[in-house]
């Protein structure tokens, strides 16, 4: 125990010698095509490529960190990582707690997926991931909402009949339709686009990423990336 403490302390000291600014990017790793864990066990997806490119443009060294969606904001605030890049829509509610960059994907409609196209949403049970804009929307409508910790579980709930439909980002649901599930015609316009989240005290870092996102918007590389991963409409 004692040697472990000393060892960790020694490491922490020596590791501080070579100073290059390292930024830790927090993501969920369970929301294809935005972010997911690939066969090699690494974080992959639209946001992986976007984050790496942004870090290159901002001349920062970046590390990827996985964190549960549930605790992704508290762990940012307590300093486990420096930014959230996890398909998080910009909302007023979240903006009170953390700060966002400008959006890197435009606001896109959320879609419903159910076992049949004639499901009655108002009297049915709707599944959504906890603490998402979709869950807030369903609750606001006064419909029956069941929340799950991961996107995977919301879809599983529809498959096994626990819920009648699931409401989520269309790009994510596109990856699960087929095999008995259909997407409804109806869609909802929610949120203000997806941005990166920062601690409110970290304005300088946020500025760097904001500028990098702007430069990717200007030279069209952001649109290419959006098209490659089919995450949303383009700018």
């Amino acid at each position: 125990m004692k040697s472990l403490i000393l060892g960790t302390a020694a490491l922490a000291l020596t590791a501080g010698m070579g100073l290059a600014e390292t930024v830790r990017l927090g993501t969920e790793g369970a929301y294809a095509p935005w972010n997911f864990v690939n066969d090699a066990g690494e974080i992959d997806g639209f946001e992986r490529e976007l984050g790496d490119e942004l870090c290159k443009r901002a001349e920062l060294t970046c590390e990827w960190v996985k964190n549960d969606w549930d605790s992704i904001i508290p762990n940012l605030v307590s300093g486990n990582y420096d930014t959230i890049i996890a398909g998080m829509s910009i909302t007023d509610e979240r903006d009170e707690v953390i700060d966002f960059t400008q959006p890197y994907t435009p606001p896109d409609p959320s879609a419903y997926v159910a076992q049949s196209a004639d499901v009655d949403l108002e009297n049915g049970v709707i599944a959504a991931q906890a603490t998402t804009i979709q869950a807030a929307f369903v609750a606001e409508q006064g419909w029956t909402l069941v929340e799950f910790a991961t996107p995977e579980e919301t879809v599983a709930a529809v498959r096994n009949g626990e819920a009648d439909a699931v409401l989520a980002d269309k790009s994510f649901l596109d990856t699960v339709v087929g095999d008995g599930l259909v997407m409804l015609e109806k869609s909802e316009s929610l949120g203000g686009g997806v941005g990166m989240g920062f601690r409110e005290s970290d304005a300088e870092l946020r500025g760097k990423f904001d500028a990098a996102i702007q430069s990717m918007k200007d030279d069209g590389s952001l649109n290419e990336l959006i098209a490659k991963w089919e995450v949303s409409s383009q700018w």
Binding site: V23, A40, N75, V77, E152, A156, S201
Partner: protein, 294 residues
């Protein structure tokens, strides 16, 4: 991993499975098994030391020490594990950083609490934000060991406290009659004899500890349950070379077998320890052992 794994879509049956089970993602699962075992191997003795310290403190003649021992056991035992893990670890981490901040950045002029943000100077961050990922992981692991030890130490303290009281009073009296001091009687008579009373309670704690490792993910340590959940999820062909439907049942069944084997091995080992500890003790089992040998 294997040379024939380059195009998994052409494979079938066992060769597909052999490739599937050796992807980088599965290797992470296997590593997490070792992480969990290491955690248990470090936590169990540490918790026992904490427990022993607290139990001895609770018996102390010195009042504040007794308060400390009793306060620690009752407070930690009374708080739900999950609340303890969410609150205490963050508080502990912030306490470390606060102390480093006071030492390393004495001329910092901004407040440390800004709204809900906890802001310390860069040099005080633990681990430093510049350190590589594995340092962060080791630090998280260390926090996990410490938190588990504190929680399970409190339960162990209660078990050991009871065990110390279960040693027949006559044994201590005899020791005193031989002229041993209080300290000598404690170390030479009480401690060697108490384990046989403590072991049933401690073995319960060990079983609970084995099964509480999923709490690790709250601290950012990826344990086997996290990976089973991740690997078992539906995988579509667009994002993986090994598409499959929802395999949670299969993965959780494997987990079940793992935990059952692990607890079975523990039971066998604990039974042997119990037989050994019972030898020569003034308990019913010890007496039975003596008669069987005679």
């Amino acid at each position: 991993m294997f040379s024939y794994c380059t195009d998994p879509s052409t494979l079938e049956g066992l060769s597909w499975l052999s490739c599937y089970l050796t992807t980088g993602k599965h290797v992470n699962l296997y590593i997490s098994v070792f992480v969990v075992l290491t955690l248990l191997a470090i936590t169990a003795p540490t918790a026992l030391v904490f427990g022993f310290g607290a139990a001895s403190a609770a018996r102390s003649k010195f009042l504040p020490l007794r308060w400390f021992g009793k306060g620690y056991t009752s407070i930690v035992r009374g708080v739900p594990d999950i609340a303890f893990f969410l609150f205490f670890v963050i508080a502990l981490d912030q306490a470390f950083e606060w102390m480093r901040h006071k030492v390393k950045c004495p001329d910092w002029d901004q407040p440390i609490r800004q709204g809900i943000d906890f802001v310390v100077c860069d040099a005080a961050k633990l681990p430093l934000s510049t350190s590589p990922q594995w340092v962060h992981e080791t630090y998280g692991f260390f926090l996990a060991v410490l938190t588990f030890s504190i929680v399970f130490g409190a339960f162990a303290a209660n078990v050991l406290y009871g065990a110390m009281r279960a040693v027949p009073r006559a044994q201590i009296e005899t020791a005193e009659a031989y002229g041993m001091t209080h300290r000598q009687a404690f170390w030479r008579i009480l401690v060697p004899q108490m384990w046989v009373y403590a072991l049933p309670g401690l073995s319960n704690l060990w079983m609970v500890l084995i099964k509480s490792t999923p709490l690790l993910f709250l601290l950012g340590v990826e344990d086997i349950v996290y990976w089973a959940k991740e690997l078992g999820g539906t995988k579509t062909a667009r994002f993986t070379d090994y598409p499959h439907p929802n395999w949670h049942v299969e993965y959780f069944f494997a987990l079940l077998v793992f935990y059952l084997c692990f607890t079975k091995v523990s039971e066998v080992v604990l039974d042997r320890v119990m037989t050994r500890l019972t030898k020569g003790q003034a308990t019913a089992a010890g007496e039975a052992q003596r008669k069987a040998a005679a």
